[in-house]
């Protein structure tokens, strides 16, 4: 009896060691699984959610690009605004990855949270952009309509992202972090040029951030849904 028990123990020990080491190794390398609950509909709905999110982000970026170009053509010709747009955007302080390697090294949960943060940061500025643009002198309808559309779509994208995060990280409640925008006074400046420059800057920042979000989401989609094989 004793010898049998000893032999069993001896045989099972390396196996146990192997198991533990595997667990440890796996934990360190990989991030959390996408669907921890393991439900079948989780994967399917995640794919749909990501597809929808990518479509929305792409749409928002298109709108903001067009809006910026139109504004540039209409108001900023010859004023050298571009050189001044070295001004930072209010979201520049967020630790978003700036190239591909950085983005690939960022875990998908962090990346998702960053996207959420940026989206939340733009809620307020978009609202004021629309409000102030109505008062802009001779604002073309195209610019205004696009601004309104962007504001609406941004809200929808935010909702979609929150759903995705809810599926990817169920039960994790993050603090609602976002960057505060303080550019409202400059939008309301009396001086026309200053005001225009403020708009220009805001639109420029909007274009950039929408491009960032679009890129991150496409990256995440290919990584999570298609397993890096888009």
């Amino acid at each position: 009896m004793d010898s049998k028990g000893l032999s069993l123990k001896a045989g099972s020990l390396p196996l146990l060691l192997l198991l533990v080491s595997n667990l440890l190794l796996c934990k360190s390398v990989a991030s959390l699984p996408v669907c921890p609950s393991g439900a079948a509909n989780c994967q399917v709905s995640l794919r749909d959610l990501f597809d929808r999110a990518v479509i929305l982000s792409h749409y928002i970026h298109n709108l903001s690009s067009e809006m910026f170009n139109e504004f540039d053509k209409r108001y900023a010709q010859g004023k050298g605004f571009f050189t001044k747009t070295i001004n930072s955007c209010h979201t520049s302080s967020l630790p978003t990855p700036d190239d591909k390697e950085q983005a690939q090294q960022t875990k998908h949960e962090d990346l998702l949270n960053l996207v959420l943060t940026v989206l939340r940061s733009w809620n307020d500025p978009l609202y004021h952009l629309v409000a102030e643009m109505r008062g802009l002198q001779e604002a073309p309808d195209t610019i205004l309509s696009r601004a309104i559309e962007i504001e609406e779509q941004n809200k929808q994208l935010l909702e979609g992202m929150e759903k995705i995060v809810g599926q990817v990280q169920p039960g994790v409640k993050e603090n609602e972090v976002y960057s505060v925008w303080s550019g409202l006074p400059s939008l309301q400046m009396a001086d026309e040029d200053t005001r225009l420059f403020a708009f220009y800057n805001l639109l420029h920042c909007l274009r950039r951030d929408s491009n960032k979000i679009d890129n991150y989401l496409k990256l995440l989609k290919c990584r999570l849904i298609y397993n890096n094989n888009c």
């Binding site: 571009f82 591909k100 491009n211």
Partner: protein
Amino acid sequence: MDLWKLLLTLAVAGSSDALSGSDDSSGKPKFTKCRSPELETFSCHWTDGVHHSLKSPGFVQLFYNRRSTQEWTQEWKECPDYVSAGENSCYFNSSYTSIWIPYCIKLTSNGGTVDQKCFSVEEIVQPDPPIGLNWTLLNISLTGIHADIQVRWEPPPNADVQKGWIVLEYELQYKEINETQWRMMDPVLSTSVPVYSLRLDKEYEVRVRSRQRNSEKYGEFSEVLYVTLPQMSPLACEEDFQFPWVLIIVFGIFGLTVILFLFIFSKQQRIKMLILPPVPVPKIKGIDPDLFKEGKLEEVNTILAIHDNYKPEFYNDDSWVEFIELDIDDLDEKTEGSDTDRLLSSDHQKSLNILGAKDDDSGRTSCYEPDILETDFNASDVGDGTSEVAQPQRLKGEADLLCLDMKNQNNPSSNDATPATQEPGIILAEENKSRPLLIGGIESTHQAAHTQLSNPSSLANIDFYAQVSDITPAGSVVLSPGQKNKAGISQCDIHPEVVSFCQANFITDNAYFCEADAKKCIAAAPHVEIESRVEPRLNQEDIYITTESLTTTAGRSGTAEEGPSSELPVPDYTSIHIVQSPQGLVLNATALPLSDKEFLSSCGYVSTDQLNKIMP
């Protein structure tokens, strides 16, 4: 920060002023293009100034500055790589490249800034051209003039579309080789696209370029793909038209075969007769044999009633009367079966044709043997009775057949012909149940007469006159046994009461009544039975009424005028008053004068002549 901004602005303004206000704008190096092919690296190119002057271009340098954080870096860094992107270029690899971060570069010549530019990397993305163009044939139109192809390519190798870092869209352009204007297709996101409706006799060139989605600028075009479509074989457009001989031959044979079969198996008699002329058959004029086939006795009755038309035909036509050979003398001499045999055998041979004869005049003479044909009706004294409106016996069922059979057997001809004829007789009897052929009946009358004449002498058990009950298709005559012969036949208890009533055995089916017998019956039995016998007979049989039956009917119907008494001689001939088909004939009650004493003496078979004399 603000100071830096101000200084930089002034520097840029100054440089731009310097640029615009330079004496030789063309001589200064300028940035031509900065581009990032995959959103991971970028490069900038500039031109050397045209050396109009003797001055050397100077030492050109590029400095860049990027804002990593909220603040600008203080110093300008020099280009890390002047070589990789070619001459007059600066290449920034991935470690120097940050997306979504503003860059500023400046070009200096001999320390003096000649050009400056600020941008973000995501704004200058221009992908490399796609590689690996190839095409496959999708289909060729039915006309053989146009074809569709599918063009495929690979994304540029340095663009990381797999991980989704960059998303590309492509634009395909194609043209014919000798054309100058390229045809453009709409941008697509996939790496293959169909090109429709290319002409097969032309060669095409295809090229593809890509751009980042959302960007405006396309990258360079790929290498040109030459599309040489397969030449369509000229079979489809052959001008010569080969006559389809094979088809014509096949269809011709088929059609001829169909027509031939139609001819052969067609029921159209005309066509058939053209090809296969039928053997002539005897024809009796006057009555359509189809009526007999269909059993339309009413019409036959009607026809008969039109005695103006028909009677002469029937009864004036003595030619067929001549066909009956009456050899009374021969009856004694010859064996019993001789005449019968002859009659039967000849009938056996001929009656088939007789009964199946169509309305064909031409064949009459061929049906009968010469001996029969030539027989003149010499024994008219005896044989006058032979010609008569015969009434073929209608067999009512198997019992009748058996009766006849038995009767025939009881009247042993004891020759080969009789048994042979029995079977056809039976068959014929069965067949002719509903087909009391007048023709057959008439002819059977003669044969009956003949048989009757012959039979009594040869056959012990039958009377001098035996009724021909039927004619078999084989031509044999089926005789009903003599009227005295009935008692012994057990199977023939058809109407025993009649038998019991009448001392003379009436065959109930027998439509012929000898006058004497009728008288006997009338005397022996109440009228009712006889009448009932006769009446239903007429009702059932629907047809041919002998004079005897006429007389009996007359006796029946004319009760007021004529007592059906035996003491009064029932006139043999009664004029037909009314033809009530199918019930029969209503006879005039008046007795007709009997001009010929001959009729009184025998059961009256009326010849046509006599009937004609009698009938009005």
